[in-house]
């Protein structure tokens, strides 16, 4: 559709036809990215459905244990799993898909056209945004249906949800794009991308309540965005008094924003310096 409407727009008499702009082609790519994502069963299951399945499993096993102040483990899990879900549809999804696209030559082929490089990344932004919003909606629905999750109660909590979601998604997406370059082939993309992500989910309060994580692993987790995302989302979905359950006995919003912004900056620098369009970049 995009193509035909485009060709009508250019008159054949135009002596210097302009190259299609990055936004138009990028949004068209985004539509195809989303379509391709949901057509591929393997990624839908692994990237999109797995967090919800794990939430149901973990929630069924541990979810009804009560913590102090009437908070249940299920609520804790849901908030953490939303962070894990954001990581899955941004970091993991982009890491695996771009590694596969580099391997298959998708990037090489696109690079051989006059497509603006920005259009490729706009397409990925659309993909990540659509998948991540859908993922969060699914997880919130599961949490509300089974684990007494309640929506944010105040404007402040909605604001927290908004900025943690945005900074977390952007940081994870940039890191996903960056880490895709470390994967030398599609077959080693799981050890390079999936494995560290699973480890981080265990130590960052996604699969296991953060309080149950040994101190030294908490400190390791604090170096990465996921711990801060999951903590920030707990502050958005749990009552304010639940802050005492945090190791710091506070939601640490300032630190959260700072760490996420540092990772956004680091991720951007990594992307700009390491992104390769071809499998074997030839200097």
């Amino acid at each position: 559709m995009t193509a035909s409407s485009f060709s009508e727009e250019i008159s054949p008499a135009a002596s210097e036809p302009r190259l299609p702009g990055a936004w138009r082609t990028g949004l068209a790519r985004g539509r195809l990215e989303v379509a391709a994502f949901f057509r591929e069963r393997q990624t839908v299951v692994f990237v999109f459905a797995l967090p919800a399945v794990l939430l149901v499993l973990l929630g069924s096993i541990f979810g009804h244990q009560k913590l102090s102040y009437g908070i249940t483990v299920g609520q804790l899990f849901t908030a953490g799993m939303i962070a894990g879900g954001i990581g899955s549809t941004s970091f993991q999804n982009l890491g695996l898909s771009i590694a596969a696209e580099r391997e298959r030559g998708t990037l090489k082929r696109l690079r051989g056209t006059p497509m603006s490089p920005a259009a490729y990344f706009i397409g990925k932004i659309v993909l990540v945004f659509v998948c991540t919003v859908a993922e969060v909606l699914v997880l919130v629905a599961v949490g509300m249906a089974f684990y007494h999750l309640r929506l944010p109660e105040s404007a402040a909590q909605w604001w927290t949800l908004a900025w943690v979601f945005t900074l977390g998604t952007v940081a994870c997406s940039l890191l996903g794009i960056a880490i895709s370059s470390l994967s030398r082939s599609a077959t080693n993309s799981f050890p390079v991308i999936g494995l560290p992500f699973i480890v981080l989910q265990f130590i960052s309060g996604v699969y296991v309540p953060f309080n149950n994580v040994p101190r030294w692993l908490q400190e390791v987790a604090s170096l990465f965005p996921l711990k801060w995302m999951s903590q920030g989302l707990r502050s958005a979905f749990l009552p304010a008094r639940a802050a005492v359950l945090e190791p710091a006995h506070s939601w640490q919003h300032g630190e959260t924003a700072l760490v996420l912004l540092v990772w956004v900056a680091a991720g951007l620098v990594l992307c700009l310096t390491t992104f390769r369009w071809q499998k074997n970049q030839d200097g």
């Binding site: 190259l19 391709a36 051989g112």
Partner: protein, 300 residues
């Protein structure tokens, strides 16, 4: 007729403007090494507008490296290269140039997208694309518009590859071993497609290790071996084939005898007059294959 036998040394940037009218691709002293291996060892080429030009050679001869340098995918170590008057090494910053060349890669790059989605997508990257429906028709994928790329047969996927390469209405089209793995029937259909594109006026540079493909399609053939250009010309006269001596052979009681001659008919008449019967008589000229094998063997 395509230009040939140009002066090689001593003119680089200064001559490009003059040449660009007729010479769409121009290569001088092209060199490329990978570590200690020399992939291309000083190649000169000129491809004229509208010409179908084949780079022929065995695997490892440097064909793909040469084409990838011209496509802007690879950097050269030394020498000059110009495609449509631009340096392909600057390709990443030259989108208008990208819009004028087409690259046929043999890749299934977005397996979940349909034929129509892929072709429309790529049409959207170019300023003056061909109509996607016409391209589908032209490459013979009509009726398969809604099929996903990974569900296409190998031959159909290669047609999609061509569609993506030509949808931008390129002035120069690059094809790297486009028919490798085709059965003879599919190869002939593919050749027809290439001929149709050539009739439209596209300049086509293709690589192949199939001799008959170069002979069937190309106006001119360059034979590459071990990174060097060992022959250049029209298929019929390649390597002095037309002018070379014929071999007249026959069996004698002492074994087989062979005479090399430029006048085989006269030799046969004389031999017949002398010996009467000539058992096992053959008259042969070197086939294109003989010439080719000799050319690539000589430099190995």
């Amino acid at each position: 007729m395509p230009p040939s036998g140009r002066c090689v040394a001593g003119h680089e940037a200064s001559s490009l403007d003059v040449m660009s009218d007729e010479s769409v691709i121009q290569v001088r002293g092209l060199r490329k090494r990978y570590g200690t291996t020399t992939a291309i060892d000083g190649i000169d080429l000129d491809v004229a507008r509208g010409e179908v030009f084949a780079l022929l050679g065995p695997n490892g001869a440097g064909k793909t490296t040469t084409v990838e340098i011209l496509e802007g995918y690879r950097r050269r170590d030394s020498g000059t290269a110009s495609v449509l008057g631009e340096d392909p090494a600057e390709a990443s910053r030259n989108r208008p140039w990208r819009a004028r060349i087409g690259i046929v890669l043999q890749l299934t790059t977005e397996p979940e997208l349909t034929v129509a989605e892929m072709i429309r997508q790529f049409a959207g990257y170019y300023p003056r694309p061909r109509d996607p429906g016409e391209v589908i028709e032209l490459v013979g994928l009509a009726g398969l518009e809604g099929r996903r790329a990974h569900q296409l047969s190998g031959g159909q996927q290669r047609r999609l590859d061509v569609a993506l390469g030509i949808v931008g209405r390129p002035e120069v089209l690059f094809l790297d071993e486009p028919t490798t793995g085709f059965d003879p029937e599919a190869r002939r259909q593919f050749w027809d497609l290439i001929r149709r594109l050539a009739e439209d006026g596209s300049t086509i540079l293709l690589t192949t290790h199939y001799l008959e493909e170069a002979e069937a399609l190309a106006d001119r053939v360059a034979v590459l071996a071990a990174g060097q250009l060992v022959a250049l010309g029209e298929p019929a006269t390649l390597g002095g084939r037309a002018a070379s001596d014929a071999q007249v052979s026959w069996d004698t009681p002492d074994g087989r005898r062979t005479v090399s001659t430029t006048e085989p008919a006269r030799v046969v008449v004389e031999l017949a007059a002398q010996y009467g019967d000539l058992p096992g008589l053959t008259v042969t000229r070197p086939s294109l294959e003989d010439v080719y094998l000799q050319l690539i063997g000589a430099s190995r």
